[in-house]
């Protein structure tokens, strides 16, 4: 039987087409646990939000500034903490666990820039760090600006900028 199959192999060269093979691959591709990942991201992302809210209240009352100004202070603080934790070398493990819970908030933005900076600083200030720091965050900035423009225009054209 074996000889026959080798003959079969020779004849067709290869007798599983890409579609059939992709089906086979799909069968053995493990499913990601979306519900669990979602709950984790929701909880941890929520916790980051709570910390942010706490910081806003804290700055507003201790510095006697408006909530809007305190919000800016809060963002700066979270970015600082995100960068600091990245440099300590364990934040990647947290992000890997919490997923969207940590990379969607501003902490993730800071972390993506800092981790790229750490990798590329050895390739020089201009050719390394400067050129690659926005490797991951660059898309967020570009498409953030583009979508702000689109939605801003829609707001102006449809509602005259009133809402």
């Amino acid at each position: 039987m074996y000889i026959f199959l080798l003959f079969f192999h020779n004849k067709n060269g290869d007798n599983m087409d890409t579609k059939e093979y992709q089906k086979l691959v799909k069968k053995y591709t493990p499913k990601e646990n979306r519900l669990f990942n979602g709950i984790i991201a929701f909880t941890i992302g929520g916790l980051v939000g709570v910390i942010g809210e706490f910081l806003v209240e804290f700055y507003a009352s201790i510095l006697e500034i408006s909530t809007k100004d305190a919000g800016t202070f809060m963002i700066i603080t979270l970015i600082f903490i995100g960068c600091l934790l990245t440099c300590f070398g364990f934040f990647d493990k947290w992000v890997n666990f919490a997923k969207a819970g940590l990379f969607i908030p501003i902490t993730g933005f800071a972390h993506s820039m800092m981790s790229a900076a750490l990798d590329y600083k050895k390739e020089g200030l201009v050719t390394g760090l400067g050129a690659n720091m926005l490797k991951l965050a660059g898309s967020v900035i570009i498409f953030g600006v583009v979508s702000a423009y689109v939605f801003g225009m829609l707001r102006l054209l449809l509602f005259g900028g009133t809402i």
Binding site: M16, D92, H111
Partner: protein, 329 residues
């Protein structure tokens, strides 16, 4: 294309690893393991070159040879323009061939060396490969400290420098035959599915080898694939069963052996050019020297993509090369 050898032996080997391999189940078989990823170097790329050079120095010491005694140095790695190998070769001053077949480079090197030794063009050769987890992460995936979530099918690049000293002098490991593989492409585009990308190449080379040598899978005590990982291993088994009606029972995958997949954060197992030789030269050679395995077929598998080709959404081609090793006691 299959070659038979009568006078090629692997005399000495050296295996140096990084921290994750040292925490794996095969730790006691390695010559040396580092606790960090820098090995006292300034960056990951230099570190990879260092570990490769160190493995060559170690194999020279074991074989009791000096660099001028060596006719040829063949080496490959994953870094752009195989800099880890070339920068190590710069210090060695041995005639050098740099090779690239991704994670199949180790066996590619052994085949070139074996052919040249068999035809008496050279008397001896050192074949090396290296890979470095952080250098590979930086080049192919996210920045090292980013830790972005990855699918379960991802493989974890091994950190290691591995060298083998081959010559026509008799030793306990004989290189019996080898088969050069043909590049396969089954239309997989996902760079996090390396097992699925490489399984057809592994199957094709295995069948070519068996056909050319007129053997069945039972001829071998153990058939090893390079780095298909946990899921790739299952895909290969079913693929081989469906297409060729062969049951792979005496089969294992080095990616699943080098780490404790359930306990270590390595997703579906190891990968990288160093993965297959790290397991084979340490644990498998130990079993062969103890007489527990006699005939072993190592099929190293490689995915031939670059980060650019993946971004351009092109399918990923793969290659596999086989080498048959025999224990002589």
């Amino acid at each position: 294309m299959t070659f038979k050898y009568n006078n090629v032996y692997i005399n000495e080997v050296s295996t140096i690893t990084g921290p994750y391999e040292a925490k794996g189940p095969l730790f006691k078989y390695f010559d040396k393991s580092y606790k960090d990823f820098y090995f006292d170097m300034k960056n990951f790329e230099e570190a990879e070159s260092h570990i490769l050079k160190e493995s060559v120095d170690l194999v020279l010491k074991k074989a009791n040879k000096k660099t001028n005694d060596i006719d040829l140095f063949i080496s490959g790695d994953l870094l752009n323009q195989i800099t880890a190998s070339s920068f190590a070769a710069k210090d060695l001053k041995i005639p050098y061939l740099g090779i690239f077949n991704a994670c199949a480079s180790s066996v590619e090197g052994l085949i070139i060396a074996s052919n040249m030794i068999e035809s008496k063009q050279i008397n001896n050769c050192i074949c090396s490969v290296s890979s470095h987890n952080n250098a590979a992460e930086k080049q192919f995936r996210y920045p090292v400290e980013y830790g972005g979530p990855k699918p379960k099918t991802t493989t974890f690049t091994t950190t290691g420098g591995v060298s083998a000293y081959l010559s026509s002098e008799k030793s306990s490991i004989k290189v019996e035959s080898s088969t050069i593989g043909v590049v396969q492409d089954k239309g997989i585009k996902d760079a996090y599915q390396m097992g699925a990308v490489m399984a057809p190449a592994m199957a094709d080379t295995l069948i070519r080898h068996l056909k050319d040598t007129n053997r069945t899978v039972d001829y071998y005590d153990l058939i090893l694939s390079g780095d298909l990982g946990k899921y790739g291993k299952d895909i290969l088994k079913e693929y081989v069963k469906k297409v060729y009606d062969i049951n792979l029972n005496n089969y294992d995958d080095t990616a699943c052996m080098i780490y404790d997949i359930d306990k270590q954060p390595v997703y579906s197992g190891g990968s990288g050019p160093a993965c297959a030789p790290l397991v084979t030269y340490s644990y498998i050679f130990d079993l062969m020297k103890k007489g527990k395995l006699k005939k072993v077929l190592l099929v190293a598998t490689g995915a031939l993509h670059s980060s650019t080709s993946v971004n351009e959404k092109r399918t990923i081609p793969s290659i596999a090369h086989a080498i048959s090793l025999e224990a002589i006691i």
